[in-house]
C-alpha cells in the first residue's frame, strides 16, 4: 500500500470543505497492522486544525467496510461518547489509494506503557480516565441494537451461548491439547451468568486503543471490531493483564481500579454486576489465548507466515496461567 500524498489529500479536502486546504506536517503513526494512520494539519482560509487520516489497503483485508465503521463512529458520537469526530470519508480507492476516513485529531498518548506512566505521574488521572471510559461505554450500551448498521450480524441466542460456541470452535482447532483451557471452558459452562439483552458494544476497549492526556480520556479508538454483544465483554476486556504494561497492581489497564470504572459506568446509566464482569473476564482471557494459538497455527499452515504469528504460539501459556488464576480451582462452585 502506498502512502497518500499531501497533494491528493489537499485536493480531496478542498473539494470536501469547499475552500482551499493546505496540508502540512504529515506524520505516519504506528497503529493497526493493516491500516495506515497519518496525522496532519490542514490550513483552511479561516482555521488551521489537526486531523487524522485512517486508510485501509483494500476492502478485502478489512473486518468491515469503511462505511460501516463510520456509521459506528457517528453512532458513538451521537451517544456523546468520547470518540474522534469524523469530518470526511470515502470508499473510492482512486482518491488516495484505498478507502479512508478523516477525523479531528485528539491530543494525548496511546502506547500502553506511556498511558501507565502518564497516569502514574498525575494524582487522580488514572481514576478519571477509567471513570470516563466507563461513562462512555455505558452511553453506548444503553443504545438500541436497531441503531446499529443493518448489515452487522445479529447474534442468535444469548451472548453467552455465542461465547461458548466460539470457545468450542477454538478448542477443536488447537494443534495440541490445552488442559488449562479445558478446565476453564468447563468452568465457563458451569458458571454461566443469567442471560441479558444484547447491546451495541465496542469490542476492543483496552489500554492501547485509547487516547489519554493530562485532562483524562481523549477518545476511544478503533471501531473495527464493534459488534452486537454483551456489555461486560467490553468492560472486562480492559481488566486483562496484557494491557497493564506490567503494572499489575492496577486491574484496569495498569492505571485504575475496578471501582473507578464502575463509578463511571453507573454515572453513564449502566447497571453493574461483579458476577457478569468476572465471567466475561475469564471468557475474554481464554478467547485471547485461543486467538494467539490460532495465530501460531496460521503461521504453521502457511495462511499467514510471520515471525510475530509464530511467536504468538509461545504466548498462549500466559493466558492459560491468567485464566487458571481467575477460576482459582477446577470447579470454583463456591
Amino acid at each position: 500500500m502506498t502512502a497518500p500524498t499531501a497533494g491528493a489529500l489537499g485536493n480531496f479536502l478542498t473539494n470536501e470543505f469547499g475552500s482551499e486546504a493546505q496540508i502540512k506536517n504529515m506524520a505516519p503513526v504506528t497503529a493497526g497492522a493493516r491500516r495506515i494512520n497519518v496525522l496532519f494539519d490542514a490550513e483552511l482560509p479561516d482555521e488551521s486544525a489537526g486531523f487524522c487520516l485512517t486508510q485501509l489497503p483494500n476492502e478485502s483485508d478489512a473486518f468491515r467496510s469503511i462505511a460501516d465503521e463510520v456509521q459506528w463512529l457517528k453512532l458513538a458520537h451521537d451517544a456523546a461518547m468520547k470518540v474522534p469526530e469524523v469530518v470526511a470519508w470515502s470508499e473510492d480507492a482512486s482518491i488516495l489509494g484505498g478507502p479512508f476516513f478523516i477525523t479531528r485529531q485528539v491530543s494525548g498518548v496511546t502506547i500502553p506503557k506511556h498511558v501507565v506512566e502518564l497516569c502514574g505521574s498525575q494524582a487522580g488521572l488514572g481514576a478519571k480516565v477509567a471513570f470516563e471510559i466507563g461513562e462512555s461505554l455505558a452511553k453506548l450500551h444503553v443504545r438500541g441494537i436497531d441503531e446499529v448498521p443493518a448489515d452487522v450480524e445479529r447474534p442468535e441466542g444469548t451472548a453467552v451461548d455465542a461465547a461458548l460456541a466460539w470457545i468450542d470452535e477454538g478448542m477443536s482447532e488447537l494443534l495440541q491439547r490445552s488442559p488449562a483451557f479445558e478446565l476453564v471452558s468447563r468452568w465457563l459452562r458451569n458458571n454461566q451468568p443469567p442471560p441479558t439483552p444484547v447491546t451495541p458494544i465496542h469490542g476492543d476497549t483496552r489500554n492501547g486503543n485509547i487516547i489519554v492526556n493530562e485532562s483524562g480520556l481523549g477518545a476511544i479508538l478503533d471501531w473495527e471490531t464493534a459488534h452486537i454483544g454483551e456489555p461486560f465483554e467490553d468492560l472486562a476486556w480492559l481488566a486483562q493483564r496484557m494491557w497493564r504494561a506490567r503494572n499489575d497492581q492496577l486491574e484496569i489497564g495498569g492505571f485504575a481500579n475496578r471501582s473507578d470504572l464502575r463509578a463511571g459506568y453507573e454515572a453513564g446509566g449502566g447497571t453493574w454486576s461483579d458476577e457478569r464482569f468476572h465471567w466475561w473476564k475469564v471468557y475474554r482471557c481464554v478467547w485471547w489465548g485461543l486467538g494467539l494459538a490460532r495465530q501460531g497455527r496460521q503461521h504453521l499452515d502457511g495462511t499467514f507466515r510471520s515471525i510475530i504469528m509464530a511467536a504468538s504460539g509461545r504466548r498462549v501459556a500466559e493466558l492459560e496461567w491468567d485464566a487458571l488464576c481467575l477460576i482459582e480451582r477446577g470447579n470454583h462452585s463456591a
Partner: protein, 104 residues
C-alpha cells in the same frame, strides 16, 4: 558437538540482534528483530529445561466431575508454570492471590 554449544550460540545470536542489528534496522523491522532475539532466549531456556514427565491427566477435562476438576487443578497449574519458565520467566509471580487482592 564442538563449542560453542547450541545454548552459547543462541546467546550471542540474541545479543547481536539486540545490540547491533536493531539500532541499524528500519523502524518497521525493529520490532520483528526484537521478537527474534526474544525467541533465541526462549530456545536457550528450552534447551536447558528439565524434560520432566508431566503428571497423567484424564483424556479430557471438559466433562469431568467437580471432584476430578478440583483434584487436577494443581497439576494443570504446574504444567503451565513449566511452560512459562521457558516462554516468559517471572510471569507466574502474579497469581490467583495477587489478582484477587487487586480486585478486592
Amino acid at each position: 558437538m564442538d563449542r560453542p554449544t547450541a545454548v552459547e550460540l543462541l546467546e550471542i545470536m540474541s545479543a547481536t540482534l539486540n545490540e547491533t542489528i536493531v539500532p541499524a534496522t528500519a523502524p518497521h523491522a525493529q520490532h520483528q528483530t526484537r521478537v527474534v532475539a526474544n525467541l533465541c532466549r526462549i530456545l536457550m531456556r528450552e534447551l536447558d529445561a528439565d524434560q520432566a514427565e508431566p503428571s497423567a491427566l484424564p483424556p479430557s477435562l471438559i466433562d469431568v466431575d467437580d471432584a476430578t476438576a478440583d483434584a487436577t487443578y494443581a497439576d494443570v497449574l504446574e504444567l503451565v508454570r513449566a511452560k512459562l519458565a521457558v516462554n516468559k520467566p517471572g510471569y507466574d509471580a502474579h497469581g490467583a492471590i495477587e489478582e484477587r487482592d487487586i480486585v478486592a
